[in-house]
Amino acid sequence: MNERNERIHGVACTFRKVSDVFHAAEKVRDAGWKNWDVHTPFPIHGMDQAMGLPRSPVPRLTLLGGLTGFTTGCLLTWYMNSYDYPLIVGGKPYWSVIFPFPVLYECTILFAAFGTFFGQFIFNRLPRHNHPLFDLPSFARVSDDTFMIVLEARDPQFHLDESRNFLQSLGGQEITVIRD
């Protein structure tokens, strides 16, 4: 990458039809690009596979959150009912897995929800207040009647002229260089 490229975010290219952007995405995937994205006004089924995207890692954080919640619930009820202030309630043991079970699963659900919510924040790199794409006039139409592929400059394959030609060869219509 040369000096000039460092101030460039990437190259954007618009498409008019779903099938065009879909097949273009497949070709970008097959060319081995890692840092790139497709923007569409509505979800296109099968686009995940066309882009070669892996499954979201968020469920792992959900599971981690759930396990943390279950453990927290166990420790919470054990500490309060059995350790810090042992108390017999309704003839039940100080601590068993049965009587505090509502607490345990509510904690599991709460922490799993935290894991999911903050997990998607982390993996979506949120909060983010601005994005170089927002400066692009044609980007507004991506929420209306246009599809867009963006190749980002941070991808090792990125070279301004070659990437521009590559997008042209995919049948892109309007090709724009996005600056940071």
Binding site: P59, L63, F99
Partner: protein, 423 residues
């Protein structure tokens, strides 16, 4: 896919029918001999075997109506198989529960509360039981038999309507049938909910009539849907390998069935645990004895074999399917989903055993005045024969229905959406 050339598989329906008739003959022979010798375990096999299929078929009936009401786009392809199957629901009730309930000998042998001479733990008889007298507005033989007849009528009527208009659409291509089926389903869901609750009360809960649980109907519903989904996964897999779903069933269909299996696994656990939890917390002897005889051997104070069965339900019927189904790949890889489905079918049977088999039998030689019927007996094989026998009849009806009607709802307004269903 035309009605004039049914799929080759459907030709096997007579073999299934023959196997079912032979199994019924053997089962009823054993049951009659048993009752003549004052034993009820053989009759209980017929009850368990029929309830296993009643439960599956009620689940399929509910799924048929729920997918109708919600206009589920993925459903038509799968639902047609439910429509072929549910005709067996009134038949299995008629062949299993009805003769047991209507013949005095079997009724007295299975439902203790119908037999005034029956000895209770402690030595007094059912006829002198104040608890039964208080419940007699519901638990009296006349009303009991009326209810059993109503189950056949209500389910029979619903099944007939749901099938008739769905099949009629194949030939006359009228979208109006879809609207009519909406209406039937909207009425049918609450009606079936009440009917299946009463059926669970009468056929299972009333086996130990001192005990009561307001969650019982919901438990039976959750179990039914779980079993129905598991059987659907197994059946559609079979039908997509050499059957009429060849090349039609895709990953997204497995995914949606897998997601529902996960949801109802959690729901079943939630309901089963809530029932236990409420009884555990309230600690009323009239309720707790039901769980006590399923945990502790009263003579020794140690855990009985029923305790192992309950542990199997927690770990084998809930935790294992739950943890497996959490993974996306379990829901889309056919072999894995199939394995989980078989685990659920097995677990569902064990859950039925857990609910139906343990009972207190009067025995004055023990200090408690009763013994609990054991789990591991050779009669379990008779239960398996009953399940195979009723299953053969169910599949005979399924295949003969598939031979006479379309196996794919070719003119369902959503059939293309169902065939092209994607995640």
């Amino acid at each position: 896919m035309s009605s004039s050339s049914p799929h080759a598989l459907t030709a096997h329906w007579k073999k299934f029918l023959a196997a079912g008739v032979v199994a019924m003959a053997v089962l009823w022979y054993f049951a009659c001999v048993g009752v003549a010798h004052h034993e009820n375990r053989q009759a209980l096999s017929i009850l368990v075997g029929s309830l296993f299929w009643i439960s599956i078929l009620i689940g399929m009936l509910m799924l048929t109506m729920i997918t109708r009401v919600f206009d589920a786009g993925w459903a038509p392809l799968v639902r047609r198989n439910w429509e072929h199957l549910i005709i067996a629901l009134p038949v299995v009730i008629l062949l299993g529960v009805v003769p047991l309930a209507f013949s005095t000998g079997f009724r007295h042998a299975l439902w203790d509360w119908t037999n005034a001479e029956h000895l209770l733990p402690g030595g007094h008889t059912v006829g002198h039981d104040p608890i039964l007298q208080a419940k007699s507005w519901f638990l009296n033989e006349k009303f009991f038999l009326i209810r059993i007849s109503l189950y056949v009528l209500v389910f029979g009527a619903l099944v007939t309507l749901l099938r008739r208009w769905s099949f009629a659409q194949d030939t006359d291509r009228t979208a109006g049938h879809t609207h009519r089926l909406h209406a039937v389903s909207a009425v049918g869901i609450p009606l079936s909910a009440v009917t299946l609750t009463m059926l669970a009360f009468d056929c299972l809960m009333a086996l130990s009539y001192h005990w009561f649980s307001t969650m019982y109907g919901v438990w039976f519903f959750a179990l039914s849907i779980r079993l129905a989904l598991a059987v659907t996964v197994i059946l559609t897999y079979k039908l997509s390998n050499g059957g009429w779903l060849d090349g039609l069933l895709n990953q997204a269909h497995r995914h949606v069935l897998g997601c529902l299996m996960l949801a109802f696994t959690v729901f079943w656990a939630y309901i089963s645990f809530s029932q236990y939890f409420l009884i555990y917390t309230a600690n009323i002897p009239e309720e707790t004895f039901w769980y006590n005889i399923r945990e502790i051997d009263a003579a020794t104070g140690l855990k009985s074999e029923w305790w192992s069965v309950s542990m199997y339900l927690i770990f084998g019927f809930f935790l294992l399917p739950f943890l497996s189904l959490l993974f996306y790949r379990t829901k889309i890889v056919a072999g894995r989903l199939l394995t989980v489905a078989w685990i659920i079918v097995m677990g569902g049977l064990v859950d039925l055993w857990f609910n139906a088999l343990p009972r207190q039998v009067y025995d004055k030689s023990t200090p408690e005045g009763f013994v609990v019927t054991p789990f591991l007996t050779s009669s379990l094989f008779l239960d398996l024969l009953a399940i195979a026998g009723f299953g053969a009849i169910v599949f005979a009806l399924f295949l003969s229905s598939a031979a006479k009607n379309e196996t794919i709802p070719v003119h369902d307004p959503r059939i293309l959406e169902s065939i092209n269903y994607h995640e």
